[in-house]
Symmetry: C2
Subunit: 461 residues, 2 copies
């Protein structure tokens, strides 16, 4: 009986020790969690965000926490030409949409930098209209402004020392604010707003929309000059450098008041030959980090009076820019300036160069279609001579009878933006190169098909 | 020896079992953590947000993740009249600032609802300009729009069925968008924009700022009517109901095209007598949840053509509203509609009623100062008859020689907004009742001091 007892004890002991080992392993493995138990009110939302981000859309779409919901679950929002619950279906015969300048090609970079770029906003974060007391501009984050200045000194693309800064709802709002700030206040002689063909259509559309007594849109600088000579009439000239659509590094034609639109003046689109040093310069987050939906831009202004008119416009039109937006931009820029901007700018440049290499290979086989010439320049940021890799291809249809280039491309299942939208001939079409990889791959495929048909057979399509 | 062995086994078994129990308890207690181990990329930011939120500012200030930093730590941003590292110092003799309509009194509600109102935004969230493909308005969140409609049906303050909706940068931007959408496109006869004195100054300031050929500001509706009679000239009338500054439930005077500014049409400010059913109604998040800094408002529009002009204005002026802002508003509104809106509206109403009770007690002791009359109405939301509790007190200085009421109040260390800012007499001054509790307590203290001096001695100050 003693033996039995001992035997029983032995068995029990073994089981018990085994159990101890299992529990200990669990404790060890779970150990990391103990720190995590610090999280209280932010955890549920964080878990939800990660859960939604983990929803698989086959690499051809994305689910969002604010997305459309089906059966309580956010559904995949598929890229163009993809469909099905998990975006795995490709729509054959679908046209490549290269119309919009949606800068989604940055997305993979931000997924690689998830930990440093996520923003957690408490329900009571910055409820007030203003940031700080006892400072001049109470609707702009001083922290954010300092990061923007740091960014420019790293990129070497603009002088910010001793300059004023104003934030806007994308650079879109800054365009009209700039025209307002520079234009005459004397209604009897409105300022003349001009740009050089081909130019970004919004310059004209906004000026016409606001229909102000202070300014009017007068179209192309060159035709204006030939009609008015070099008389010192009151002009406000948009200088887009690099230019949208053709990527050219534009200079002022009229030499009057100028608005330098530098949306694309970043190392991934063009070699940075030196810091821009103009009186009024506009930048946008959209083409820097790819966050077009965040709607954030900034103006760098030399003159105090212009700055005050500019700021007054933003404050009166909108009472400043969303604090939530500014918080997110701050977080993003902290990532951008890491490693002196190398990680972001190299990622973006490599993407753009790769796309241009593949694009030029296709167009080199064509006599029917041509794209803009690119000239190498020394880039101070990368410290070497490089070709620009613009955000858009400016396609010209060379054939006499192809005077509607968009129509020709559309017949080849390619959607571009017609030249007349940029006040140029429809013999030209803009193709966006900054959309998702899916969009670019399909564009390249359609272009290859189109070029391979260059024996007149396209006319039969 | 067998005994010893058995004995030893027994002891070991007891120890082992004890260990089992301890480890099991740990496993049970730590159980919750196991879910937490799911968090990866969002955890660091969540922990940082909670850490900053936990910084003590003595209840007289707040530290923010995007705040000014000293020695790597965000510093306390103190409420008015408070200072020191932890905002524990009160500045005696400091003036009570009741100028701005900063709706910070909601802050405690959002701290009570921290878990449900926090937003976690991934670095790649909504980078695109548009939300969805294949839908009309691609810059507005459909999810958010549906919650706004739900909100109005709960609050019972506006008809949304069969109406169009447009989002704006606060209601501030919507004001000019509405004027644009309603005004004539015929420059030879601009529309006449009017409002009824006392009115919100931005109506005039924006119209003057944009200086459009399509419209011009013509001031007060009543003087306009007496000069122009009831001829059907092209007018766009701002009807602010409840009115800022005096809380009155205004109606249209001219009966032409109207913009109903319903910023304050919520159960905490005024009894909801029935749903507003006008052609163009404007609302803002600011006075609903207190998030003025988020800059979000919406328009409810009956007519399709007006809606399209309105939307075109927003899209061309700003290319839509920040996706980050829309994400946060969605999260906040999900909390607002919980419990059919009772928690938020009761919190806000109780705060406002308490402030009005204490305010009226002070003014009841005064013959020198009076405030607006309030008339009870039946509130369908709370299903009882209640007095309104407006966002502002509209103070009148009754003494003949007190024709500059702001100056009189300032001598008593109270900063208000002078009547002339609302195109009314300076015998009136607006006092804001929706700021922080600190601000209100100091305002009440200064008012009590001022009223207690009502024996002419104030004149000596």
């Amino acid at each position: 009986m003693g033996k039995t007892k001992t035997y029983c004890y032995g068995i029990c002991l073994l089981i018990s020790i085994a159990l101890n080992i299992l529990l200990s392993i669990n404790l060890y493995v779970g150990g990391e969690n103990n720190q995590r138990s610090l999280l209280t009110w932010s955890e549920k939302a964080a878990a939800e965000a990660e859960e939604v981000a983990a929803i698989s859309c086959s690499g051809h779409g994305r689910a969002y926490v604010d997305g459309l919901v089906s059966e309580g679950q956010p559904v995949c929002e598929c890229n163009d030409c993809y469909g099905g619950n998990d975006c795995s279906e490709f729509f054959h015969g679908c046209s490549a949409d290269a119309d919009s300048g949606d800068p989604v090609f940055f997305e993979p970079f931000w997924m690689q930098h998830a930990t440093d770029s996520v923003v957690v906003t408490s329900g009571w974060h910055r409820m007030s209209y203003k940031y700080y007391k006892y400072v001049d501009s109470t609707t702009m984050s001083i922290e954010l402004e300092s990061y923007i200045r740091k960014l420019h000194s790293i990129a070497g693309n603009a002088i910010t020392e001793g300059r004023y800064m104003v934030f806007g709802v994308g650079s879109t709002q800054l365009l009209s604010a700039a025209v307002y700030a520079l234009s005459s206040e004397n209604s009897s002689s409105p300022s003349n707003v001009l740009a050089s063909i081909p130019f970004y259509p919004i310059y004209k559309d906004q000026t016409v929309l606001f229909n102000s007594e202070n300014f009017q849109f007068e179209g192309d600088t060159n035709s204006w000059q030939s009609n008015n000579g070099t008389n010192n009439m009151d002009v406000v000239e948009f200088v887009t450098s690099p230019n949208n659509p053709d990527g050219e590094l534009k200079k002022s034609v009229l030499g009057g008041k100028t608005i330098y639109d530098h949306a694309y003046l970043w190392p991934h689109f063009t070699p940075i030959t030196g810091p821009s040093d103009h009186d009024l310069m506009l930048f946008t987050l959209s083409k820097l980090t790819g966050h077009g939906g965040t709607r954030f831009g900034w103006a760098i202004i030399k003159d105090k009076d212009i700055y005050e008119k500019f700021l007054n416009y933003i404050e009166l039109a909108d009472m400043g820019i969303s604090k939530d937006t500014q918080l997110r931009v701050l977080k993003l820029l902290k990532v951008v300036v890491e490693g002196d901007g190398k990680p972001l700018f190299e990622f973006a440049y490599n993407k753009m160069r790769d796309r241009w290499d593949r694009l030029t290979t296709v167009f080199s086989k064509s006599t029917r279609f041509s794209i803009q010439q690119r000239h190498p320049l020394h880039c101070n940021f990368f410290n070497e001579t490089r070709l620009p890799s613009p955000a858009y291809a400016w396609v010209k249809c060379e054939r006499e009878d192809d005077d509607d280039c968009s129509a020709v491309l559309e017949a080849g299942k390619i959607i571009g933006r017609r030249g007349s939208r940029f006040s140029d001939k429809d013999r030209y079409t803009r193709l966006s190169l900054i959309k998702s990889q899916d969009d670019f791959e399909l564009l390249l495929q359609r272009l290859t098909e189109l070029v391979s048909l260059e024996n007149g057979s396209i006319a039969k399509m």
